[in-house]
Amino acid sequence: MKALKINNVEKTFGKVKVLKGIDLEIEPGQFLILVGPSGCGKSTLLNMIAGLESVTNGNISIGDRDVTHLDPKDRDIAMVFQSYALYPNMTVRENISFGLEIRKTPKAEKQAIVDKVSKMLQIEPLLDRKPKQLSGGQRQRVAMGRALARDPSIFLFDEPLSNLDAKLRVEMRSEIKELHQRVGTTIVYVTHDQIEAMTLGDVIAVMKDGEIQQFGSPQEIYDNPKNQFIAGFMGSPSMNFIPCQIEKVDDSMQIALESGGVQHLLPIKQNIAGLGSYAGKKIVLGIRPEQITEQGEAKADSAMVSCAVEIIEPTGPDTLITVRINGVKTVCRIHPTAHCQLDKPMPLLFDMSKVVFFDSDSEQRIY
C-alpha cells in the first residue's frame, strides 16, 4: 500500500494547462517535497491532494482509498498554510480543537489531545491567547498543532516557513524535521526553497511548467540532475555551467578550458558513452563550486587550471571566489586559509569525477 498515489493528474484553468500529467507514489512515513520556481504548479498540486481544487483528469489515492472526488474533510488530511490561517476570533486552544469539535470528539479526549499536542510543541503557556497576540514563530507552531491534533494519515505543508525571518526559518526547519521523525506520519511539503527541500525531504519532486522534472532522493537529485534546470535549481551557490568544446584525442575525450588567455585540455576519465557523438562540438560542462578547490593533494581524477580571481566572498566556513573560464563567471569554493588575491592568477583543482555534461541546445544531461 502506498501512502499517496497520484496517477496522471491534470489541471486546466480555462485554456491554460497548469499540470500536465503528474505521476508519483510515496511510501507511508516518507517526507515528500514538491519544489520548483513560482508558477510551476506545486501549490495547485498540493491543493488538489487536499481537495481544495478539483482534479481535471486522473486520480489521487490516499492509502487504499481513491479520494479524487471526496471533500477535504473526508480525505483524512491536515494542512498547514503559508499564512498559518489561524481563526482570529478563537484562542489557541479553540484553534487546535476546532476540527475535533466538528468531529464531535468527546470532551475528555479533546482535552487530552490538546494537552498532548501543546506539550509536544511547547505552546502550553499560549493556550488562552488569541492569534494576534502571538509572534510569527508561535503562530507557526499553533498552525502545526492544529494539524497534529487531527492525527491524519497525511500532513500537507504549503510553504510554511516563507513568512518567517531567516534565523527562525532555520530553527523551525529542524523542528519540522524532528517532528516528522517523532510522529512518523507521511508529509507532503511544498516549497520554493531548495535548501528546505534538500534538508527535509526523503524524496523530492522537482517541478517546472506543470511537470515533474525529476523525482528521487535529495542526494540523487543533487549528484545526478537530469537536466540543466534541475542542476541549476538545486544547490547554493548554483552549479557552474561552462560552455566548452569537446575533442577526441587518441582514445579519450578532452574538454578545452580557457582562462586568462591560457588554454587547458582536461581529460574526462568518467565513462560517459553519450559523449562520443559530440566530438568536435560545443557542450555544457556542469561543475559545482565545491568541485573546484584550492591546490591540494591531487586526486585520481582531477586537473589543475590556473585562473584569475575576480571576486572574493568569505562566508566563514568557506570562501567563494569567482573566476572567469571560457568567458563565463565561475564560482569556486575554497578553504578560508587558502591564499588568494584579487586579479592574480590562482591554481585551482578541478575534481572531474563528479562533473556532468549537458547538450547545449536541449539542456538535457548527456549520459
Binding site: 481544495l52 491536515a78 494542512m79 498554510f81 476540527g99 466538528i102 492544529r146
Partner: protein
C-alpha cells in the same frame, strides 16, 4: 499652544457651530410658547423650559384629519425599520460571503449587476415596484414597504460586505473546510465573528436610509400605516388657523432623534468600518 493650533481649533469650532445652529434654533423654538415666538427673535432664549409643544407633537397634534400626534407613526417607523435593517444586513452578509469565498461561474458579473443597483434613483423604481407589490398582493401594507426597503438596500449591504470579506484570506476558509466545517458553520463560526465593524456600517447606513425615507413611505403605505417622515410632513402641512412653529420643531426633532442616537452610539465603528480593508492591519 502655537498659532496654527489656535487657528485650527477656531476653524473647527466655527464649523461645529455652523452645523449645530439649526438644531439649536429648533430646540429653542420647540421650548417656547407661541407668544414668545411672535415677540422674540429666532435666537432669543425661552423664558422657561416649556415642554408643552413636545407633548402635543407626540400625542395630540393633527396629521391630516386624525389628531393623535406622531406616536403611532413613530412605532410604524420602528416596525418598518427593524425588520428591513436586520433582513437586508443578514442577506447582504450572506451575499458578500458567497461572492468572495464561494465564487461560482458568473459571480463577478452578478456582483457587477448588483453594483448598478446602488446607482438607481428611487424615482425610477416607483412604478415597476408598485406593479410588483400589487402582483404580490402587498400593495399598501407594511410588509410591502419593508420588502421595498430590503430589495433596494440589498445592493448597498452586499457591496459593503463583499468589499470587507475580500480582505479576509481565503486560506482561513480552506483551513476550516479541512477541519470539516461546511458552508454555514464557516459563516457562523469564522466569518461572522470578525464582521462586527462592517455589520455596524451596514446597520447605520440602512437605519438612516430607511428611517429618513419619505418617497417610498408616501407612495407604498396608506393611512395609519405611514412612517414618521410622512406623518411629519402631514403635521407641518395641516393648518388649523395658527402656524404652531414650536410643535413643528418638536415633531421634527422627534423624527430625527433615532438616527442621531444611532450615530452617537455607533459612530466610531462607522468610520472604522468604512476604512477597514483600505489599509491592511
Amino acid at each position: 499652544m502655537s498659532i496654527s493650533r489656535v487657528l485650527i481649533y477656531s476653524l473647527l469650532l466655527f464649523a461645529a457651530m455652523f452645523y449645530l445652529l439649526p438644531l439649536v434654533v429648533m430646540l429653542i423654538t420647540s421650548l417656547k410658547d407661541l407668544n414668545e415666538i411672535r415677540s422674540g427673535t429666532l435666537l432669543s432664549l425661552p423664558q422657561s423650559l416649556n415642554f408643552d409643544a413636545w407633548g402635543k407633537a407626540w400625542g395630540t397634534a393633527c396629521t391630516g384629519v386624525s389628531c393623535e400626534g406622531l406616536k403611532g407613526y413613530f412605532w410604524n417607523s420602528v416596525l418598518i425599520v427593524v425588520p428591513a435593517v436586520v433582513i437586508s444586513t443578514v442577506l447582504g452578509a450572506l451575499n458578500g460571503y458567497v461572492l468572495t469565498k464561494w465564487k461560482f461561474k458568473g459571480s463577478n458579473l452578478f456582483f457587477g449587476m448588483l453594483l448598478i443597483g446602488t446607482m438607481i434613483p428611487f424615482q425610477v423604481v416607483l412604478l415597476p415596484m408598485a406593479r410588483t407589490l400589487g402582483f404580490l398582493g402587498l400593495a399598501g401594507t407594511t410588509s410591502g414597504l419593508i420588502l421595498v426597503h430590503i430589495v433596494y438596500g440589498l445592493a448597498f449591504t452586499t457591496l459593503f460586505f463583499r468589499n470587507y470579506y475580500i480582505s479576509i484570506p481565503n486560506e482561513l476558509v480552506n483551513a476550516a473546510r479541512i477541519d470539516g466545517a461546511g458552508f454555514w458553520l464557516i459563516f457562523r463560526r469564522i466569518i461572522l465573528p470578525v464582521s462586527t465593524p462592517i455589520i455596524v456600517v451596514s446597520v447605520i447606513w440602512q437605519f438612516t436610509q430607511i428611517w429618513n425615507d419619505f418617497l417610498f413611505g408616501v407612495v407604498y403605505s396608506a393611512g395609519g400605516d405611514q412612517p414618521i417622515t410622512v406623518a411629519l410632513n402631514n403635521l407641518v402641512n395641516t393648518s388649523t388657523g395658527v402656524k404652531e412653529y414650536n410643535v413643528d420643531m418638536a415633531a421634527a426633532i422627534i423624527a430625527a432623534l433615532p438616527t442621531l442616537l444611532v450615530y452617537v452610539v455607533a459612530g466610531k465603528y462607522f468610520v472604522r468600518g468604512l476604512t477597514a480593508g483600505a489599509v491592511k492591519g
